[in-house]
């Protein structure tokens, strides 16, 4: 769906994107994480055709986005601080988008009213709270029925109930229409529940880009205990990323397949051995430990 290749963008000598490449499959929910200034918003503005690349390409469905209305009709962008005309209500903005997005669904607009009960559709959006302004933006975006929804810090300002509601609606569109979602956030925990692919940005480059399943399958967290206090010599060939100890209980972070690792460790005859789930946050810490200080900063 999205293919970014060697994208470079410079602002007054500052390289915001440095030969960045990424790829998001159709129907996926792709999380883009990185610290402030990593280039997330700049990348999103290229994907939505707002910025013109200095070099490199940004393709959606195999076509360039910049100055290409047929492609842009399939994309809707909700920035972190959505813009609306100063005195416009949600209904006014609905009419505006209705004139610009051919696939805009008025029936969906009416139907979604129930999903956003606090948003008064005839009230000027600027008079709504920040959270309700975000709700209004999601309401309008979903009515445009885009093939690609691009979200920059999407649920900031939404209360937990409304977050769940919004994610549920997005997931529904992904499941039913095959919509692709590209989300930028610097909060890994937020993305963990919804993303199936993750890319991490630092200094204008994608440092790592994988599916969550791949990541989770490739790193194992195992707790085990031995009769003696010290950890016995571990079998050769294990790629140990990290070890820690609390009393007789040792925690190992090992890269590799769970069954193979468990098989090898069982030769040490531990008193008990248990595999624990790794959070996305932990995966990134151990995967990228020492790779880049900025990455560590945002995760910790």
């Amino acid at each position: 769906m999205i293919k970014v290749n060697a994208l470079t963008k410079t602002f007054d000598g500052f390289k915001a994107l440095d030969a960045l490449s990424m790829h998001a499959r159709p129907g996926s929910i792709y999380g883009l994480v990185g610290p402030n200034g990593a280039g997330k918003s700049t990348l999103l503005r290229h994907v939505t055709g707002i910025y013109q690349p200095d070099s490199g390409t940004v393709l959606v469905n195999g076509e360039r986005v910049y100055e290409n209305p047929p492609v842009k009709r399939k994309i809707f962008f909700i920035p972190d601080d959505p813009y609306h005309f100063p005195s416009a209500s949600t209904r006014d903005m609905m009419r505006f988008y209705q004139g610009l997005y051919p696939q805009f669904s008025l029936q969906r607009y009416e139907a979604l009213q129930a999903a956003f009960p606090d948003v008064k559709e005839k009230m000027p959006i600027r008079r709504l709270s920040r959270g309700m302004q975000k709700q209004s933006a999601f309401w309008l975006a979903l009515c445009c029925q885009p093939e690609l929804l691009v979200l920059d810090e999407p649920v900031d300002g939404l209360d937990p109930v409304m977050r769940r509601q919004v994610w549920s609606l997005l997931m529904g569109d992904v499941a039913q229409r095959g919509m692709t979602v590209l989300i930028s956030s610097h909060n890994l925990r937020e993305l963990e529940d919804v993303c199936d692919h993750v890319g991490i940005l630092s200094h204008g480059r994608v440092l790592l880009e994988r599916s969550l399943t791949d990541l989770q399958d490739n790193i194992v967290k195992i707790q085990l205990a031995f009769p003696e206090l010290d950890l016995p010599e571990l079998p050769e060939g294990l790629n140990i990323l990290h070890t820690s100890q609390l009393g007789r209980v040792h925690t190992l972070i090992v890269r590799g397949n769970l069954e193979i690792i468990q098989g090898r460790l069982s030769t040490l005859s531990p008193l008990f051995m248990e595999a624990l789930p790794l959070s996305l946050e932990e995966i990134f810490i151990y995967e990228l430990g020492g790779e880049d200080y900025a990455v560590r900063d945002i995760i910790l």
Binding site: I50, E67, P70, L100
Partner: protein
């Protein structure tokens, strides 16, 4: 697959019309007040069909007011419809929409133009309706107004749009627009002032006779094009409006080209187009350097600063301007590490000033040879003693006389005298002070223009060949040239000509008075007598020194008026013309002299001097 280009999107157009109705509503309201409502008011107040008719036929005379409205509302419309470029959030939202830049541009541009043209059309329709109801419809005048006002709006609006494409800051747009409307005029004023300090003979219009300034200062040029021409018309140069309207169309296309290359991340920047940033940076620096120095000298009351202090002042102010511009561009006060640019600028100013000081290009010494000269249009000597007909001597090409080689010899001799005037004599007060404009059209197709201001002339030099005084006197002796300067070469229409004396003393009351129109026979005899006296050199003498004028002239002036029978007045002006003898009349006037025996004889014989007395000057 790339999309085909669509140039218009109704949603964007309609949104602009709906959002910014207060702007076009206010514009419409003002025009309704000025035209149809005003016509209704006249009708109610005076109940005169004639007054209504005259008002309807002079609707286009509101164009001078409309010029300033076009200037203001053109800017306002551009600021509104392209306002999304000056706010990062709005710029992102708008450019994420599935529209090409061309579509966004034309939809917004046409909406802004509709803010202006729409009210014009509506006003014209309502005005025509009211005129028709009263039976005084004047579609011609209304059409002139509609076209003229729309042309001006097209230009100023397009110019504002063009300016707006170079900035990403809403506050910067009106400043750019205002500055660029007067930039060439301002640069002319300041640069010429600076250069003239170094180069003797440099003055306004030295480069291009002021044409560039005239056309690049549209509000002044249009104002001139719409001026009242002896009470009849407000549009004496309609082609000027047409040219500006065409320029507006060109600016629109250029604005689109800039918009297509504009980067959206520039929203908020003072200068949004990268290649223009150095122009802005150094332009602000030099403008600040010149203006700051001039204002400082005005503040200190220094009228004639030394060249060294002037250069130092310009360099210091330019450097300050350079850093100020850099702060605006970089949005930070930490710009002093960019001192190399400022130092380079200072060196350039210094070198330029040294080149001027030593006249590297030979500007001061250049005097064309007679055989090089085609004509001397717009050349004149001013500061002579005022004698009713003027205080200058035009050497211009309208007379058709200044192609004569003998006369050109006299002019170039004067030029040599001026060029060779020692530096220590240039700023002194002589027995009189004159100014000389020399404007040569050369046979090579080029031109050479020199302006000499405040040139001292001395009585003692009158018979000293090679001096300025001598050379000016030589030209003042040229009776043929003077005949043209007084207008005595003209052939007034005998049927409409009449004469009058002003500044005569009424013999009964002892107070200054006018004779009023003398009868046609006396007027004709006076004309012939004046011609005879002029031929004998006893009247129509332009003196260089006032004492000589006082010794020979009366205070009384003789006037000749006549109308050009070929000139066709508009119907609604004929009644006014018939009632007012001065209306749109040609005139000649000159001071009476004691030696003008033929003229004085006619006045004596006709009894004028019985009723009036002539006072000595």
């Amino acid at each position: 697959m790339r999309s085909g280009t669509s140039f218009f999107d109704f949603t964007i157009f309609n949104k602009n019309i709906q959002r910014y109705w207060p702007l076009w509503g206010a514009y419409l309201f003002i025009w309704l007040l000025i035209l149809p409502i005003n016509l209704m008011f006249l009708n109610r107040r005076l109940w005169s069909t004639q007054d209504m008719l005259e008002a309807a036929q002079t609707v286009h005379e509101t164009l001078p007011l409309g010029l300033y409205m076009a200037f203001v509302f053109g800017l306002g419309a551009a600021m509104m419809v392209f306002g999304y470029l000056y706010n990062s959030r709005a710029a992102c939202m708008t450019h994420a929409l599935p529209l090409r830049r061309e579509t966004l541009f034309w939809s917004s541009y046409l909406a802004g133009l509709a803010f202006l043209i729409g009210p014009h059309l509506l006003t014209a329709l309502i005005t025509l309706g009211i005129e028709s109801l009263r039976g005084v419809a004047a579609p011609e005048s209304l059409g002139v107004w509609l076209l003229g006002q729309s042309a001006m709006c097209l230009f100023f609006y397009s110019f504002a749009v063009f300016c707006g494409m170079f900035t990403g800051n809403a506050l910067a747009l009106p400043i750019f627009y205002g500055i660029l409307n007067f930039l060439v005029w301002y640069l002319r004023e300041t640069i010429v002032s600076y250069v003239a300090q170094f180069l003797h003979g440099m003055g306004y219009g030295t480069w291009d006779r002021g044409i560039l300034v005239q056309w690049c200062t549209p509000i002044l040029n249009l104002s001139g094009a719409l001026q009242r021409d002896r009470g009849v018309t407000y549009m004496n140069r309609p082609e000027v409006l047409a040219i500006y309207a065409a320029a507006g169309a060109v600016l629109t296309v250029l604005a689109l080209l800039v918009y297509r290359r504009r980067h959206m991340e520039s929203a908020g920047d003072v200068v949004a187009v990268r290649v223009v940033r150095p122009v802005f940076q150094y332009g602000v620096a030099i403008s600040t350097g010149l203006l700051g120095t001039i204002l400082l000298y005005i503040f200190w009351g220094v009228s004639n600063p030394s060249n060294v202090s002037l250069v130092v002042g310009v360099i210091l102010w330019s450097v300050a301007g350079y850093f100020a511009a850099t702060m605006l561009l970089d949005k930070t006060f930490r710009v002093f590490h960019k001192w190399k640019g400022a130092a380079g600028l200072a060196v350039v100013i210094l070198l330029f000033s040294l080149a001027l000081e030593f006249d590297v290009l030979g500007f001061e010494r250049r005097v064309p040879k007679v055989e090089e000269i085609q004509s001397v249009p717009f050349s004149s000597i001013s500061g002579l003693n005022f004698d009713g007909g003027g205080n200058s001597l035009d050497l211009d090409e309208y007379s058709g006389l200044s192609t004569d080689s003998e006369r050109l010899e006299k002019i170039t001799a004067l030029h040599h005298a001026l060029a060779n005037l020692p530096e220590d004599q240039r700023d002194r007060l002589g027995d009189n002070t004159i100014s000389v404009n020399l404007d040569y059209s050369l046979r090579s197709g080029g031109s050479l223009i020199r302006r000499y201001y405040s040139v001292p002339v001395w009585k003692a030099d009158r018979d000293v060949p090679g001096t300025v005084t001598y050379c000016v006197e030589q030209l003042l002796q040229d009776r043929e040239l003077l005949r043209y300067n007084y207008g005595l070469n003209q052939q007034p229409d005998a049927g409409t000509m009449w004469a009058a004396l002003e500044n005569v003393v009424d013999a009964k009351t002892g107070s200054y008075a006018s004779t009023g129109a003398l009868d046609s026979v006396t007027s004709r005899r006076l004309w012939e007598a004046v011609q005879q006296d002029f031929d004998e050199g006893t009247i129509g003498i332009r003196y260089l020194f006032s004492e000589e004028a006082s010794a020979n002239q009366y205070e009384a002036r003789i006037y000749f008026y006549w109308r050009d029978p070929s000139e066709d007045l508009p119907a609604h002006k004929r009644a006014a013309a018939a009632a007012d003898p001065y209306y749109k009349a040609h005139q000649i006037n000159l001071l009476l002299t004691r030696q003008a025996s033929h003229t004085l004889a006619v006045l004596e014989e006709s009894g004028v001097l019985d009723a009036y007395r002539l006072e000595e000057n």
